[in-house]
């Protein structure tokens, strides 16, 4: 099982890479990414071990989505390098990427089960149909995100939270070792958000490494092992206590931030009027 999982791929031509067991799950060195000459990310470096959960935080335009695109192998770096389990992202078929606004047409005539089964497509290879083993993997993936009762439902009938869970189930069916999510909580109500959090944290037990771009500093510090604070460049990287310092936050968010020294530490108030996103006021370190 482990051996099969490490292979991250199938046997035939255009063979995906075999994971290097010694290498970190994600290793980024001096990564720069530009859009038509305009730099979006400058000289980012960090490392993540398998099973870790990393929250990528920072103001709008800080390069969070760009970093995820580059890690997924969907946008080429202009400098530096990315190694996923020891190899370039383009060689992997086990990277699951869930963009904030996915290109998915939600009125497409497919059921929840159909979408999760799509995670099997590349491992099956062309001309093959899903077999019993694949259907079992899909069934377990649906159970893991508690969507089994909705598996026959057409996707346009799903709520925002159910859609996110379905895409996580697809990543599980893909036997993904690295899940990249861009603002998975955006637009979710509180109860959908509370349903999604344990599913995300539960990915660690499956050895899945999780990188999530987030607005909400409170969620980031409560549910993630480490934080990467970005503002085009790396402002901070480490645990919430290490990263969310007054200096770092002032540097990243500039005048959008108000810090109030209270009895239980520093209260960070993030002024939503500075950005067009929906931001929360959130508690920071001592």
């Amino acid at each position: 099982m482990n051996e099969a999982k490490r292979r991250c791929g199938r046997r035939r031509s255009r063979q995906p890479v075999v994971h290097d067991a010694q290498a970190p799950a994600v290793c980024v060195q001096d990564l720069s990414v530009a859009y038509e000459g305009t730099p979006a990310l400058v000289e980012i470096s960090f490392e993540i071990e398998p099973g870790e959960r990393l929250a990528i935080v920072g103001p709008n335009g800080a390069g969070k989505s760009t970093l995820l695109l580059a890690l997924a192998g969907l946008h080429p770096p202009s400098a530096g390098r990315i190694r996923i389990h020891g190899h370039a992202p383009q060689g992997h078929i086990c990277i699951a990427f869930v963009p904030q606004r996915s290109a998915v047409d939600w009125r497409f005539p497919v059921t929840v089960e159909d979408v999760v089964t799509m995670g099997r497509v590349r491992r099956l290879g062309p001309l093959r149909r899903p077999r019993t083993a694949d259907r079992e993997i899909v069934r377990r993936a649906l159970a893991a995100v508690e969507l089994t009762p909705l598996s026959e439902r057409r996707i346009e009938a799903l709520s925002g939270g159910e859609r996110q869970r379905m895409l996580i189930a697809r990543a599980l069916a893909q036997e993904s070792d690295l899940v990249l999510m861009d603002e998975p909580f955006a637009g979710l109500d509180v109860s959908s958000r509370d349903d999604l959090i344990p599913i995300l944290t539960g990915l660690r037990d499956r050895g899945v490494t999780l990188l999530v771009a987030l607005h909400d500093l409170g969620l980031a510090s409560a549910h993630f092992d480490r934080l990467l604070l970005l503002k085009r460049r790396r402002v901070g990287f480490g645990t919430a206590e290490e990263v969310l310092t007054e200096t770092a936050l002032r540097h990243a968010y500039g005048s959008c931030l108000r810090m109030v020294r209270g009895e239980e530490g520093v209260l960070v108030v993030h002024d939503t009027a500075c950005n067009d996103g929906a931001h929360d006021a959130s508690g920071g370190g001592p």
């Binding site: 255009r14 995906p16 992997h92 699951a96 990427f97 290109a103 799509m118 497509v121 590349r122």
Partner: protein, 288 residues
């Protein structure tokens, strides 16, 4: 005359039998491939491809010196493939929106076709057939060609079902699976080009679009999954072909137009009578 007699009577004519076979093949084929046209919002491209075939037919006519249908078929196919690849290349490399690129190619090729045709005297009658179809003139040889291409396209759609589904549904996800998305996009364009050319003789290029999108849209209204949508679409397409031909036979209507009108009739019927539609809601209201 009984209903059975009415159904059997036209079958005494060999040209009607050939026309029926052609309509069934083309109706089914364009309806299946049309599902992708509808789901990927490629209706404009489908229409453009149909019209862009005209200069190919005109050039074939000029080069071959007459309306040999076999020659025209291959010229039309070549043009459709060239235009499909041209739109793809313009859309990818120039900083032009795809629908604009399609519009330019569409009108340009159609104008070129008309210009070429205007140099030929006596093409006028044949032009009507190109524009509006002439299913009653289908020969046994045409049927072989239509049958072979129908089988080929359906086989590809069936074998690459799950790849085409993933690439159409979520292109970003397809790229993270490292599927060759450009290859599948071009393949789909080529399939549509083939369908357009194969259907040319049945409904003509003027009404082609209806055969691609009407049965597929009708099926979309009631199907929950893509496989079922394709199956239902094929049923609607084939039904339109058969019913349209009978209408054409008994009322002397142009066959292509009759087929399209039946397809649209089926669409309206399904639209109005499905559970969310006004008829069912009205019945429910009057009952309770």
């Amino acid at each position: 005359m009984s209903l059975l007699e009415m159904l059997v009577a036209p079958l005494r004519y060999p040209f009607m039998v050939r026309a029926l076979v052609a309509s069934v093949l083309v109706g089914g084929l364009s309806a299946v491939v049309g599902c992708y046209v509808v789901l990927r919002s490629m209706a404009f491209l489908g229409d453009a491809l149909a019209h862009a075939v005209l200069p190919g037919i005109a050039a074939g006519y000029l080069v071959a010196g007459g309306a040999n249908r076999r020659t025209l078929f291959w010229w039309a196919l070549g043009t459709a493939v060239a235009v499909a690849l041209g739109v793809e290349a313009i859309g990818r490399h120039a900083r032009i929106k795809e629908d604009t690129a399609i519009g330019i190619v569409f009108a340009g090729t159609f104008a070129l076709g008309i210009a070429l045709i205007s140099t030929v005297r006596g093409f006028a009658v044949d032009l009507v057939h190109v524009l509006f179809g002439n299913v009653l003139g289908v020969s046994a040889g045409d049927l072989v060609l239509i049958g072979a291409f129908t089988a080929g396209v359906l086989l590809i759609v069936l074998l690459l079902y799950k790849e085409l589904l993933v690439v159409s549904f979520d292109p970003t996800f397809a790229r993270t699976l490292r599927l060759p998305t450009t290859f599948y996009r071009i393949l789909l364009l080529l399939l549509i080009a083939v369908v357009v050319v194969v259907s040319l003789q049945t409904v003509g290029l003027g009404l082609m679009l209806a055969m691609l999108i009407t049965p597929a849209t009708t099926a979309y209204l009631i199907a929950r999954r893509l496989g079922r949508m394709m199956l239902l679409s094929a049923v609607f397409g084939i039904l339109s072909g058969i019913l349209g031909l009978y209408l054409s036979f008994y009322f002397g209507l142009a066959s292509g137009a009759a087929i399209v009108l039946v397809a649209i009739g089926l669409f309206l019927l399904v639209l109005l009578s499905r559970p969310q539609g006004p008829i069912v809601r009205g019945l429910r209201r009057s009952r309770g």
